[in-house]
């Protein structure tokens, strides 16, 4: 990315679709973030709609992962990160004094790029989040685990081997297991950071179908650098570049009729 493009872009105002506060689960308000003084996000403001799939796209290094991790406070672990602005979950500031961070992360679940099941059985992986909470009757726990695995479209493949090591699954199955594990704690928002980029095309399509089915139950934020994927699964798309929000619109509008030249440049492949 050349200097001139960047400076020209920085001056322009972003084109952002206005989601009504009542229809949104998350509101990001003037969020900026620095890693040891190095700016990674600059003054982002947008609302995420409830029960929809919102995609974040943009060139690699533009801050997509950084933004996702700001939404469930994973940056808390990193002393080098300084942050300003607010993130509101259902109207409540996630950095507010009364917020327990573990509780917040249960409400805002996250799935990472590389599948990362724990070195335990398939069953125990899905039960992990449940066991952190008040103890459940085994019957009830089994029900939730089955439900989560069904929701992640994995049940039929693993129902006879629930007590095998999770590391015996294929990469695509592992990623769906990780999604099931997150679903089991019943989050309101699901953050997916390039969930299919480490997978083969067929596994990738399975995950996409799964994402489409999930939005009836929760709100999904999907980070991807694959524009076809964003176009196939998301309802809204935000385009980020250099730590800034460039354009945020309904997916169909953004891909067929981008309002800004920068967006158009990127999606027509001139910059990617």
């Amino acid at each position: 990315m050349s200097e001139t493009l960047l400076s020209r872009a920085s001056g322009a105002r972003p084109a952002v679709i206005e989601i009504p506060a009542a229809a949104s689960c998350l509101a990001i308000d003037d969020l900026s973030l620095r890693y040891a003084g190095q700016s990674a996000l600059e003054g982002l403001s947008l609302r995420i709609p409830r029960h929809a799939v919102t995609a974040f796209i943009g060139p690699s290094g533009c801050g997509k992962s950084t933004l996702l991790r700001a939404l469930n406070r994973l940056h808390d672990l990193n002393d080098e990160v300084t942050q300003s602005g607010r993130v509101l979950l259902e109207g409540e500031d996630i950095h507010g004094p009364g917020v327990a961070v573990a509780q917040l992360r249960r409400r805002v679940g996250m799935v990472f790029q590389t599948p990362n099941p724990f070195p335990m059985s398939i069953y125990e992986n899905v039960a992990f989040g449940l066991r952190l909470q008040a103890p459940l009757k085994k019957r009830r726990r089994d029900e939730i685990i089955e439900w989560a695995l069904v929701s992640a479209a994995l049940w039929d493949e693993v129902k006879d081997r629930l007590h095998d090591s999770a590391w015996t699954l294929s990469g695509g199955q592992q990623q769906r297991l990780v999604i099931a594990r997150t679903l089991a704690v019943q989050p309101e928002v699901l953050l997916l950071d390039e969930p299919a980029s480490a997978l083969d095309p067929i596994s990738s399509l399975k995950i996409e179908e799964l994402i489409r089915n999930l939005k009836s139950r929760l709100s999904v934020i999907l980070v991807t650098h694959n524009m076809q994927q964003a176009a196939r699964v998301s309802d809204y798309t935000a385009f980020l570049e250099g730590g800034e929000l460039v354009e945020y619109a309904a997916t169909d509008d953004l891909f067929t009729n981008p309002r800004l030249a920068r967006t158009e440049d990127y999606i027509t492949g001139r910059m990617s």
């Binding site: 990472f112 724990f118 992990f128 989040g129 952190l132 909470q133 090591s165 990469g171 990780v178």
Partner: protein, 521 residues
Amino acid sequence: MRRWRVASRAGLPRGEGPWPWLAAGSLALSLLMLAALLLLLAGRGLGHFWPAPVELVTLDDGRQLAGQRVREERRQTLQGSPLRERLYRTGNRDLEGDAWRWVPVASIATHEHPADWAVIERQRWGELIVRPLALEENGRRLTEAPLWESFTARLARVQALRVERDALRRQVIAPLARHLAAGHEDAEAQARLAEARARVGELQAAMARDALVVESAAGERLSVPLEEMVAAWRPNAMSPLQKLAAWGANLWHFLSEGPRAANTAGGVWPAIFGTVLMVLLMSVLVTPFGVLAAVYLHEVAPQGRLTGWVRIAVRNLAGVPSIVYGVFGLGVFVYGIGGRLDEWFFADSLPSPTFGTGGLLWASLTLALLTLPVVIVATEEGLARIPAQQREAALALGATRAEMLRRVVLPMALPAMLTGVILAIARAAGEVAPLMLVGVAKLAPQVPLDGDFPYLHLERKFMHLGYHVFDVGFHSGDVEAALPLVYATALLLVGVILVLNLTAILLRHHLRMRHARLRSR
């Protein structure tokens, strides 16, 4: 990369100069040295238990001696002429004053291997090498034939009686005596005690019934009560299979019995037990401390210059000579803590110390301290190897830092912790120097674990194989008798360490298998 692989499969890579050969050579040399060491220990140590033949030697001047060949040495006479001398183990210490005889080879006229000569091991005075002549019962000469068969049958009877007597003493008399000594007025117990003592008297009388009349090579005769014998065999009359069986039995006695004759005979069981118990106790003490310290250092403490310094200090602690830890243990554990404990809890037995002297607990603690750095370093390395993804996955599911540690990080670091314990065992099991200051004993036939409350006697002194080697080798009056035991005990020490390490390694392997069946996806 590929080329290298092909080359290594075909043998040593060509065209890379002398380095591969040098490296392979040093590896071969180390392996060779290890093999030589083990072979030496095994040959000298295990050979000792083989029933060697008895030679009846007639010297030029007509004198005779009977004994087992040990070795030959070349010497010089005072005039400077060369002289070859042969060492015989002749036994009969009480008859001849010494159990060993150097004989100039040139002065041996004939030697033979008569089948009827026997080696008799006794409770005291060591072995007899003699010719059995007749049996006596209550001092009356018997004419039973064949002599040897009837003798071994009677010896077996005496040994059965001894087993019964010892069991009675241990299981009936000792508990009753303790019961009464504790101040209980119990007429029934008194009666049972008197009855048991009477029975022991009867058994002892029965054991004293028989004796064997024997003759030494010097022509001296004596009557040896069967009661005093431990074992008897006729090496020249034994088939190789019988010798093998005897070898196995001797080895078993060595492993399972306590020492006799100032550690120059008998077995090393208390030392094996002491070594293993001390190492296990050390592992139990060092593991939680080491793991907690490593977890604090790696997971909890803010990573700054101070933690860096602490880390360097811990690593350097591993290089402090072990005797320094012994001095520390003596000053802090034995005199400091032990002395204080005695003042508070065992004041009635002062001035004789209970915990204020070396003992199992202090020795284990000292070695735990010695091996602490090893466990800390290994655990920390294990913690550092756990991928950040696994930690974030746990946090993202709503785990607190403590829950993440307990449920994900620590289980995954378990093999690394076991590696630490394995290294700790390897270091601790062979340490002798610090133990001499904090609790090892030359002779402690009572092992620190028994049926008496509180079962594990942490204040007791204990025996240790490493110290036993040192003691038998350097502090025993009979060097020739001690030498094979030194080799055998050293071999045993190596074996015990190997077994302890293997156990830990198998445990780690088992854990790894359970967790990481598919790490290389």
